[in-house]
């Protein structure tokens, strides 16, 4: 299908509102003979696994499907020319920047109105995009009937999609020099820790009338126990820093990760 140069940007993360936006964006692309640009922004938020799950449920991102794959399949079924763009960064900023970079005519997106405390916490992406976008923005509100259809379709696709098999081959890591250096450092540290434990508990101070541990031997104004303990603590810090430096160097040497 020939296009008339009209470009629609569809940001999607696989959430229900995004799937609703996908449905609408494809209708619009058909009507206007437009080109569809599918955008996925992976956020670099420092959130732990459970927090991700929590955020997913707050954003209704629980369809469990790849939003980009869904939009791609829908678009190719409808015969709409498309382009897929993946970016990393803060969601709103990346959407706005992509819209400017790719000179799109309109952004079609879901309304991520989040209710309750998570809403206060997460803020609204659509509101941010409306504020800063260089072009028109359509925030999709589907009817209940349309939404049901979209959700059903999303579930069907999710069920049909097979997750790629997990690779359990970690031999490239275990064979790497970096990992071996790490094991070496770990061995040195383990021996020190073992020595610390055994010395502190089983070996007695020959001078002590109280039958105390050898750790009670005076040393550097304190005693052996405090000095050895501090050595074990600072050894961990130094090893971590040295390993980080070495690993960083070897990663750069091999041309990144």
């Amino acid at each position: 299908m020939a296009t008339n140069g009209y470009r629609i940007l569809l940001p999607t993360d696989g959430s229900y509102p995004a799937i609703a936006a996908t449905v609408r964006a494809i209708e619009m692309a058909k009507d206007r003979k437009a080109q569809l640009i599918i955008l996925n922004v992976s956020e670099q938020v420092t959130a732990a696994g459970m927090e991700r799950i929590a955020e997913d449920s707050a954003l209704m991102r629980t369809a469990g499907i790849d939003g980009v794959a869904y939009a791609r399949d829908m678009a190719s079924k409808a015969g709409i020319p498309m382009e897929i763009v993946r970016r990393e960064g803060a969601v709103v900023g990346e959407i706005v920047r992509a819209a400017a970079d790719m000179d799109v005519d309109i952004i079609v997106m879901g309304s991520s109105t989040i209710k309750g405390l998570p809403g206060l916490y997460l803020g609204s992406v659509s509101r941010g995009v409306i504020k800063d976008a260089p072009c028109d923005v359509v925030v999709v509100k589907l009817t209940e009937e349309e939404m049901k259809k979209a959700v059903q379709l999303a579930h069907d696709i999710a069920a049909a999609m097979k997750l790629p098999p997990v690779k359990f081959d970690i031999s490239d890591i275990t064979r790497s020099r970096k990992f071996k250096v790490g094991i070496g450092l770990l061995a040195v540290y383990s021996v020190t820790y073992l020595l610390f434990t055994v010395l502190g508990t089983f070996i007695k101070n020959p001078d002590s009338v109280l039958d105390l541990s050898v750790f009670s031997l005076p040393m550097l104004g304190t005693n052996l126990g405090i000095v050895f303990g501090m050595v074990v603590i600072f050894m961990a810090i130094i090893m971590a820093v040295v390993f980080n430096w070495y690993a960083g160097r070897s990663e750069r040497g091999s041309g990144g990760e």
């Binding site: 459970m50 709103v92 992406v125 890591i173 275990t174 502190g200 101070n205 390993f243």
Partner: protein, 506 residues
């Protein structure tokens, strides 16, 4: 010791807690929705994550528990600090990168993906729930301890209030990101410990080495007892091992549990995946090790300071650091320290309850029982679970009144290490591991470590105990390995037959 309600301290406490929450809301909102893509520029994330790591790890155990242990048992408490740090070295060198490479975010997910056996997932999630509950107990004990001097309320009421507040947050509001809370809290904790240490040294008028030396050469270090009396130890005895643990094997057992425990805690390992690149994950671990190591050096001064100024409550060791703060800096400083400790507990408790209810809702309900597709029901299951786990934690927290928080966390570490470390290491580094081996190893590690704790002096009293060591690790961790390896070897044949069969079929 009787405590009165302190209105100024309480007002400050509420204020600081609210400010912490407000800052974290603002920060996480900004990162998410700000119109600029260079928000929190690329170089900062691993640092934030590293401090959040430290904030997550330095729970009530480190701040309240270890300081208390050092104040009452001298060097034996310092052993905890060293062991808690040592665990990170194992996580950094041995576990982090291989586990990340597999691309599964939790221990249970990784095991289930490798063995494709639903029973493995069930076993791993049971282990996650049990470890979470055992880790929750000390947090509850810490919470009850803090509320006592702040509000003048009974310990039991304190545990109940904290438990209910957290359950309410988790069950009604849903779940909000805690990374920024952990980051701010980690930072505050480090500064508080530094400030308190400087205060101790200034009030005592001694340099850091002189201060420790003063203890070593002190002819009698006194510790109050619950009966109203006191015990004196010669300084050289107080500053070397043997006050709390008379049996050397108890120390070895503790040391083993601590070094292997960190890498086995599900809520810690999860943080490896919060930054996008493996190199960032490594960098944040390094930041965490520096922060945690520095903190444990400072904690030695907090514990000794509490003893030096005798800010000790014999019925509750966990109050040593807050009471020290009150002595050094008055009510204001006391309020600051208490609110930091409280924020610490709140963050850790909600994280643990989420992890436990997540294990039940995600792993057991959705994956094991196969109830997919109904998100509302799954969410309800997770909320009901959160309430149930919260109630269990409140009850156990009240039952464990008066126990030292760090000691209780030490037990949680031993359980985690016994159940999870053999499975984790065998899965990663030993090709012959079978799903039966994993299931048997986790089960035996879990049952044995908890069983040994139940018949230890902690529960049965020093004289009646069937098992004389306080810490089960020295028995239960090696047996966990033996069972995992043994059962795997015994079930090799059936795996090979299956392989041969599938090969013949295809």
């Amino acid at each position: 010791m009787a405590y009165e309600f302190k209105p100024v301290a309480f007002a400050l406490f509420v204020l600081i807690t609210l400010i912490t929450l407000a800052i974290s809301v603002y920060a996480s909102r900004r990162v998410r929705t700000a119109g600029h893509y260079y928000v929190a520029g690329g170089g900062v994330k691993w640092f934030v994550n590293g401090i959040a790591f430290a904030g997550d790890y330095l729970s009530a155990a480190s701040f309240l528990g270890i300081a208390g242990l050092i104040a009452f048992s001298g060097y034996d408490g310092f052993m905890y600090a060293i062991g808690f740090l040592a665990g990170w070295i194992i996580a950094l060198f041995l576990i982090a990168e291989p586990l990340r490479k597999i691309g599964k975010y939790t221990f249970g997910d990784a095991l289930a993906a490798k063995f494709k056996d639903r029973r493995v997932r069930l076993m791993a999630s049971i282990s996650a729930i049990v470890v979470s509950v055992f880790y929750l107990i000390p947090q509850m004990v810490g919470a009850g301890s803090i509320v006592q001097p702040l509000l003048g309320l009974d310990y039991e009421v304190g545990v109940l209030i904290v438990g209910m507040v957290v359950v309410l947050i988790v069950a009604t509001a849903g779940m909000v990101s805690t990374t920024w809370v952990q980051f701010i809290k980690g930072f505050l904790l480090l500064f508080a410990a530094l400030g308190l240490t400087i205060g101790v040294l200034m009030v005592a008028g001694l340099g850091p080495i002189e201060f420790i030396g003063d203890f070593v050469s002190n002819p009698s270090v006194t510790v109050p007892t619950t009966g109203g009396g006191e015990i004196s130890y010669p300084g050289e005895a107080f500053m070397s091992p043997g006050i709390k643990y008379k049996d050397p094997w108890d120390f070895v057992s503790l040391a083993l549990g601590l070094i292997l425990g960190t890498a086995a805690l599900p809520h810690i390992l999860i943080r490896y995946y919060t930054v996008p690149k493996p190199s960032d994950a490594r960098k944040s671990t390094v930041v965490a090790i520096i922060a945690i190591g520095a903190f444990y050096v400072l904690v030695l001064f907090l514990g000794l300071g509490a003893n030096y100024f005798q800010t000790l409550d014999p019925s509750n060791q966990n109050l040593s650091a807050p009471l020290l703060a009150e002595y050094i800096g008055g009510e204001v400083f006391f309020a600051i320290i208490s609110s930091i400790a409280f924020a610490t507990i709140l963050g850790t408790v909600s994280g643990l309850i989420m992890a436990a209810s997540g294990a039940i809702a995600h792993d057991i309900y959705t994956e094991y029982m196969g109830r997919r597709g109904d998100d509302k029901k799954t969410l309800r299951v997770s909320k009901v679970t959160a309430v149930a786990v919260g109630i269990v934690a409140i009850v156990l927290g009240i039952a464990m009144k008066g126990q030292n928080v760090a000691f209780l966390v030490g037990l949680a570490f031993a359980i985690a290490a016994s159940a999870n470390i053999p499975a984790l290491l065998c899965m990663l580094f030993w090709k012959k591991t079978t799903s039966q081996g994993i299931i048997a190893g986790i089960l035996v590690g879990l049952v044995l470590s908890i069983g040994l704790i139940l018949i230890s002096p902690t529960f049965m009293g020093a004289d009646a105990a069937f098992f004389s060591l306080y810490n089960p690790g020295i028995i239960s961790i090696p047996i966990g390995f033996l069972v995992t390896i043994g059962v795997s070897l015994m079930t090799q044949k059936s795996v090979e037959e299956k392989k041969a069969k599938t090969a013949a079929d295809s």
